[in-house]
């Protein structure tokens, strides 16, 4: 495998992880908001 291909694969893994993180953050934020007395979903930044 060429160094460029290895870089592309590594970049794809990082992008997939970022997409998963954003999806999870979005889900947790709004899942917590469904209940009146729960927290803000963790890591709301405030």
């Amino acid at each position: 495998m060429s160094p460029a291909t290895i870089q592309t694969i590594l970049a794809a893994v990082v992008v997939a992880a970022a997409a998963f993180f954003i999806g999870r953050r979005f889900y947790r934020t709004y899942a917590a908001a469904r209940k009146k007395d729960d927290g803000c979903g963790g890591g709301c930044g405030c």
Partner: protein, 726 residues
């Protein structure tokens, strides 16, 4: 300093039969007190935590827990309850405090020891809450705080006499200087071995007879007898049963009969508790408080006569804010340039270390360009929060609340709305949560609906990027300049619009009469440098956390969308044109071009359009998206700073994309737009959760978006018509 700990108290020390069980050696302590008694400062001093404190009432609105180990190695868990004047449970935060103390809060065991923090300067008012807590039947320790300020004001309190009057250990403390903490910790350790405190005044016979059936109901419902006695008296004056008492069989009818009995005796059930307690308190104060100097005008009184003046007050407020915003530009610029230089050097180092490829592009053009473009604003955020902390700690913010209260009542908002709205300048999320102190649901909802219009710290990177790049630093009146004034105008625009929208809501959807608020003005104090640095450091760490999580993740995703699919540029094409071609053909470019017709009337191109869209995750993402978009496909790694790129960006016909008019329109858009996932979610929760909460959160998002679009359109089109397009 005089201190009275358990060692000095002339009371029996035999273990009480009611000594609470302490699970696995953990001692649970609840900290309660009136607002602005230094309760959170004491909490921080005891636990070493960094809970936010401020020299104004209502900073703590949620339960916060901290821990320390006592001399015998046992863990002590300290629960910092919201500041409350009584246990009347008139607002959600008071209800939380009461439920915790009576052991009826879900998931929170009843405390082993309650520490009541009293402000030595306002003993009479503070003793009302203390007298209620004492009657609940928990071991109680009194922390008599701010004794230094009381002595400066000419008041000396006899701690031994107060101990005897209350029947509980009294420890004198100065939390800001850490004085009295060791004695307080020892008093907490030994409190459970002391006799339990009990009611210190007798109920008149007819009242005792009237309350007896209520007490029986409460005891049958599971309350201990001492708690039931306190609750029975309290219930006479409350209009509804709180959550922790609902379902107690026969309670409603028993309370109604007791109220009738009081009326038949010629009393008023709403005031009977206050009359009894204050009559007892008057005696306690007479025996324990000694005035050691005259009651002439204090320094605080003299400063207030100017600062709270009807005319000078608002002018001083605006001038102070102008100085704050001016400093953000003047002081932060050199620091900002240094951070930019550092990030550029890191980008160059990575660029020269890694061979060309997707991973190098991801790190340099996605991560460093995206996250780095937000990190350069750390100096501005630090300066802003140091100023805000300074104004809070000195006691000026409480005066600002007093000045603003006149305007707030004018638009129908409750006086208590000011503190949540003030919190909104830092972040809307805690601001929305602190609306729990507002008793009336309509007032609370109106405050929540307008609160995100207050410019939060997440808007600072956007404002300062655009102002620093497109607004010239023209001097105004010798000491100010146009950049600082523009920032001030953005903050004022948000505040004025929030008040205007509140007036609209209070006269339509959420109609209701404004309620007055009794506002406490604390004495002026010299700020504590450590506390200031901790508060600013806390805000910066939150900002860094955000940059390292959601902003980083969105930057990576946007890099991918801007990089794929890849377009091969013709060999003869220059680097800048090849970058534009790649961007235009990328997934991000296609999405951007699809939404461009929506933003073109505002003078924006597709890049601004996608930056706005991505900033729903967090407003700062607008800047990081810009950084990523202008970073992708760069010919070399010694890139220009984002500000320089924006200045040179042109449309296809050669016209500049960004003009001062476009920049102002964009800032106005961000003053109004509700681009914040966290705020949207917390509004959903605080307005009832479920479909109801979703409805209010969606309504707020849409009305603010419409306001943002309309205002930005008005600024751009109006500006063009007036000839400001160049």
């Amino acid at each position: 300093m005089d201190t009275v700990g358990p060692d000095l108290i002339d009371t029996p020390t035999a273990p009480s039969s009611a000594q609470p069980a302490r699970g696995e050696g953990v001692i649970r302590v609840a900290l309660i007190g009136n607002p602005n008694t230094g309760k959170s400062t004491l909490f921080n001093a005891l636990t070493g935590m960094r809970q936010r404190v401020g020299n104004y009432a209502g900073v703590t609105v949620e339960r916060v827990e901290g821990r320390y180990r006592n001399d015998s190695g046992h863990q002590v868990t300290v629960l910092d309850l919201p500041g409350t004047y009584s246990l009347s449970a008139n607002s959600p935060d008071e209800e939380i405090a009461l439920a915790v103390l009576v052991g009826r809060a879900p998931g929170v065991p009843a405390p082993d020891v309650v520490v009541v923090v009293l402000d030595a300067q306002n003993l009479e008012r503070n003793l009302f809450l203390a007298s209620q807590v004492i009657e609940l039947g928990h071991p109680v320790v009194i922390a008599l705080n701010q004794v230094d300020a009381a002595e400066a004001a000419g008041l000396r309190i006899d701690p031994v006499e107060l101990t005897l009057e209350l029947g509980t250990p009294v420890v004198q403390t100065v939390a800001t200087r850490g004085q009295g903490l060791d004695v307080l910790r020892r008093a907490i350790d030994r409190a459970a071995e002391m006799p339990l405190p009990e009611r210190k005044f007798e109920l008149p016979e007819p009242l005792a007879a009237a309350l007896a059936p209520v007490e029986s109901c409460l005891i049958n419902g599971g309350l201990p007898p001492s708690t039931a006695a306190m609750e029975a008296l309290r219930l006479l004056g409350t209009s509804t049963l709180e959550g922790h008492l609902k379902g107690t069989e026969g309670l409603d009818a028993a309370v109604a009969r007791a109220r009738n009995s009081v009326r038949e005796e010629g009393g008023d059930p709403r005031s009977v508790e206050a009359e009894l307690r204050y009559s007892w308190i008057a005696g306690v104060v007479e025996n324990t408080v000694h005035r050691i100097s005259g009651s002439g005008k204090t320094l605080t009184d003299r400063v207030d006569s100017v600062v709270l003046h009807r005319v000078w007050g608002p002018l001083i407020f605006v001038a102070l804010m102008a100085i704050v915003f001016q400093s953000i530009f003047t002081w932060a610029e050199p620091l900002m340039t240094s951070v930019e230089g550092l990030l550029g050097a890191i980008g160059s180092a990575v660029g020269s270390t890694l061979p060309p490829g997707d991973l190098r592009s991801l790190i340099v053009d996605g991560v460093i360009a995206g996250v780095g473009s937000v990190l350069v604003f750390i100096p501005q955020i630090t300066i802003l929060f140091l100023f805000i902390g300074f104004l809070e700690d000195t006691g000026y913010m409480a005066r600002a609340a007093f000045i603003m209260d006149r305007f707030m009542r004018g638009v129908g908002l409750h006086g208590r709305s000011f503190i949540p709205m003030l919190s909104g300048y830092a972040c809307a999320v805690p601001g929305v949560m602190s609306t729990r102190t507002i008793e009336n649901p309509k007032d609370r909802l109106a405050t929540i609906m307008v609160l995100p219009l207050m410019s939060c710290s997440a808007r600072i990177p956007i404002y300062t990027l655009l102002i620093g790049t497109f607004i010239p630093p023209i001097a105004i009146a010798g000491i100010f300049n146009l950049q600082g004034m523009t920032l001030l105008v953005m903050y004022l625009l948000g505040t004025v619009t929030a008040l205007a929208m509140a007036a609209v809501f209070k006269s339509t959807l959420l109609r209701g009469r404004p309620r007055p608020m009794i506002m406490e003005l604390p004495p002026y104090r010299l700020p504590n440098l450590r506390s200031l640095l901790l508060a600013a450091g806390h805000r910066v760490s939150l900002f860094l956390k955000k940059a390292g999580t959601i902003i980083l993740a969105v930057s990576i995703l946007l890099w991918a969308l801007a990089t794929y699919p890849k377009t091969e540029a013709p060999p003869a094409m220059d680097a800048g044109a090849a970058q534009e071609l790649q961007l235009a053909n990328s997934t991000l470019g296609q999405i951007g071009h699809a939404i461009e017709p929506l933003v073109r009337p505002l003078g924006y191109d597709w890049k601004i359009g996608v930056s706005i869209m991505s900033s729903f995750a967090a407003r700062e993402v607008f800047v990081s998206t810009m950084g990523t978009i202008y970073g992708v496909g760069e010919a070399d790694e010694t890139s220009l700073a984002l500000r320089d790129k924006l200045r040179t960006e042109t449309h296809d016909d050669g016209r500049p994309v960004y003009t001062p008019l476009v920049a102002v329109g964009l800032m106005v858009f961000y003053v109004y737009a509700m681009m914040c996932m966290s705020t949207n979610a917390v509004v959903m929760r605080e307005t009832g959760g479920g479909w109801k909460g979703l409805g209010w959160a969606s309504f707020q998002f849409l009305y603010m978006l419409a306001l943002a679009y309309g205002a930005a359109l008005l600024v751009y089109r109006g500006g063009l018509a007036l000839g400001f397009g160049a």
